[in-house]
Amino acid sequence: MSKLPPDAGATTEEPLVKAYLTELRAALAGAEPAEREEVLLMVQEHIDSALAEHGEHRSPGDVRAVLAALGQPHQLVSTLDEPLRQIRPVEAHSAWPRWVGFATLVVGVLAVLTILFNPIAAAVLAVLALTVGLVGARLHVGRDRRLYRIAASLGAAALVLLVVAAVMLLSSGTDGPVPDSPMPVSNAPAP
């Protein structure tokens, strides 16, 4: 905190102000000492500034109005009970160890790569990457979630490619040479 200037607190000699600050100090008894002193200083400055606006001719009524606007000391303290919540970046704890995410990603990549060499292994890897990826994405946030999402997408892509390849193979199978319709074979002598 910046240093207090020498002439601050000029109004603390006002009996009403003095009484108010004493009451506030008592109300802040449960607060951390540094926090208590800081709040007291801030409130004192508020009173100083507010009364300075009235100049030299301020009346006890002016002082009372300033203190009334500030509120009862116990009202001020009621907000201190709540700790200021920490806002953390959305990088919460991981449900699974980090390596699981990377492993799932590798499985997804392998699924795509093995399509041409071993479609059955590719299908197994693709289902694995898709399942673990989807579950992992639900359980994680931030960078980890992205990892699982990519793995799931790779698994899904590999599965789609496998289905397309299977359909193409099947349809090309039906386009193959169709056996000729049987020729009637007859030994019967032509009429």
Binding site: E35, M42, A52, L70, E82, L84, R85
Partner: protein, 113 residues
């Protein structure tokens, strides 16, 4: 005497008021009395002007607000409160959450959810 409305407001204010303070400081630093009188005008937000100071002490401790002294014309020097980079980040984060939260609450209240 505490009325039902007071209880509801006290509950609702928790966790929101400090971001109202940060939002008020977003564009320009301000001194305590200035902050207190603008924020204190709306009794829905601040039950009294003094509520501001425990919040400011917390915000400063958290590093979301910093303070500097400036001379004032015809009065004691004033402590100005200023939003820090961390404070700006926290305010952005709150603003996003608040927008979604408000939309969700409105949807339920209006019976469309």
């Amino acid at each position: 005497m505490i009325t039902g409305r007071d209880i509801d407001l006290a509950q609702m204010r928790k966790g929101i008021l400090e971001f109202c303070v940060l939002a008020r400081l977003r564009d320009t630093p301000a001194y305590g009395l200035e902050l207190a009188s603008t924020l204190g005008q709306d009794r829905y937000l601040f039950s009294s002007e003094g509520t501001l100071y425990p919040l400011l002490a917390r915000l400063r401790k958290q590093g979301w607000v910093s303070t500097t002294w400036r001379e004032s014309s015809g009065g004691p020097p004033r402590r100005y409160y200023e939003l820090t980079a961390d404070g700006a980040t926290a305010l952005d984060s709150f603003t996003t959450t608040w927008t979604d939260f408000r939309r969700a609450v409105d949807a339920v209240l209006e019976g469309s959810a």
